[in-house]
Subunit: 139 residues, 4 copies
DNA sequence: GTGGTCTAGACCACG
DNA sequence: GTGGTCTAGACCACG
């Protein structure tokens, strides 16, 4: 598991780890039930404190993305966390509205925004497929 | 200029002000060249610390959204902030990727995500038209 | 806010703080919008590390019980967190089943268990009323 | 003896074993004097570490639920563990209070809580009867 | 002055 | 060896 952390970013390191693990899970690069590197490994490889790595895993567990078992390690959860549908929709619409404002401020026409989303989804699905193929081959 | 601030939000108040001013500019409710209320006015009306309002304007100026002229006030910039196109695209793609990961984590199919974006854009444009009509009438 | 912490307990200190704050909120001794003592105050009065107190508040925020605002303090949330009803029911039934087994193992007949629950609810409501009266008087 | 263990649960496996054995005893599926499977059998059937199974039995013996006789095996205790009545009541009231706070935090009215407990007790007793009938038949 | 992040380092619980 | 808790102490962001 390769993490790309920027200590100079305003985003806290532990949240950078959270975001990247979520992305790997969304891509299928990390699959349900799969074991993540240990807290100590993440800390050593990414040169952060063990507590910082542990905190990222703790947040991921709070979000239902992973499950930690003492003495065993940390694993990708088997099923997506359940969420109140209204809360889910609210969260998503909020994210969409922020995106729209961001695009307008950058001078991107909204029609183009839709096209770009379609394109990024395409890129995402392609990468997910690649990850998936890589996984199959390892079997 | 009406701001809807939520002191209970995890987003810092000065950033909420920044986001909302950007939104008003994006909507056309604040037009290029238009004068913004003074820092004191914002602070008084929104009941925030004067430093908080000042900080928000500082950030907006740094982003090229507004321009302060000593002794005259703060004005919406005449032209959209010129951003290195590569930087602009990078920022937008980053935002899109975060959105995609969020949607996947929430269990929202990516096809639905596209539809929802289209719907939110529709809502945004409707509101922008209303704001615009209001402006015309004031002339 | 008085906390009764036992460092010798198998329950981690930060979780003891979490449980007690939740109890005070449930009782109405801490009301929506009310400000909690600062992290530093809790740490000093309870003689725990500042990080430990901060962690408790962080967990409470994750549970939607309180809201923290940098520079302002920590406040009881205005409304109860929304939860998927199925998840809510599942959590409650699990708690009830554990209670039943515990009672049987202790040799408590299940009919008595019901009576005891009724009695504890009575005691809880009485204490809640007292807290409420105390609050009114302070106004 | 069939155990339903969830390695993904935050509850340690040895405690899951403890809880389930207690549950089986409470249900009457395991009767006073009855012999439990050996530590090795439990470990093999449930695919847990032998130390884990041994630890669970150790805890059960400490609680007075089972009794180990060297060279003979482990047996369900003849009589319910004698607990200082004050300690028993304290333990039960603590559990009830935690339940009440949890219900309040979830927004469950306390009157409903009483009804739900009655319902779960009904379900528990029905299952206990079934277990009991099964035992009779085996004789 | 408030909460948030991070490090260094210790000790503990579980398997 | 794994994750979890806690302390001590530093520095930062927000208001």
């Amino acid at each position: 598991m390769k993490l790309d952390l920027d200590p100079a970013s305003p985003v806290p390191i532990y949240l950078q780890i959270v975001e990247q693990v979520r992305r790997l899970v969304a891509l299928g690069a990390l699959r349900p039930g799969e074991r993540l590197p240990t807290v100590r490994e993440v800390a050593a490889r990414s040169r952060v404190n063990r507590n910082t790595a542990a905190r990222a895993y703790e947040v991921l567990e709070g979000q239902g993305i992973v499950r930690s078992r003492v003495g065993q390690g940390t694993f990708v959860s088997e099923d997506a966390p359940r969420l109140d549908p209204a809360a889910r929709d609210g969260a998503l619409d909020g994210a969409l509205d922020r995106l729209i404002v961001e695009a307008r401020s950058l001078g991107v026409p909204l029609a183009e925004l839709e096209k770009r989303l379609a394109r990024r989804i395409g890129a995402f699905e392609k990468e997910a497929k690649k990850e998936s193929a890589g996984k199959e081959q390892k079997r």
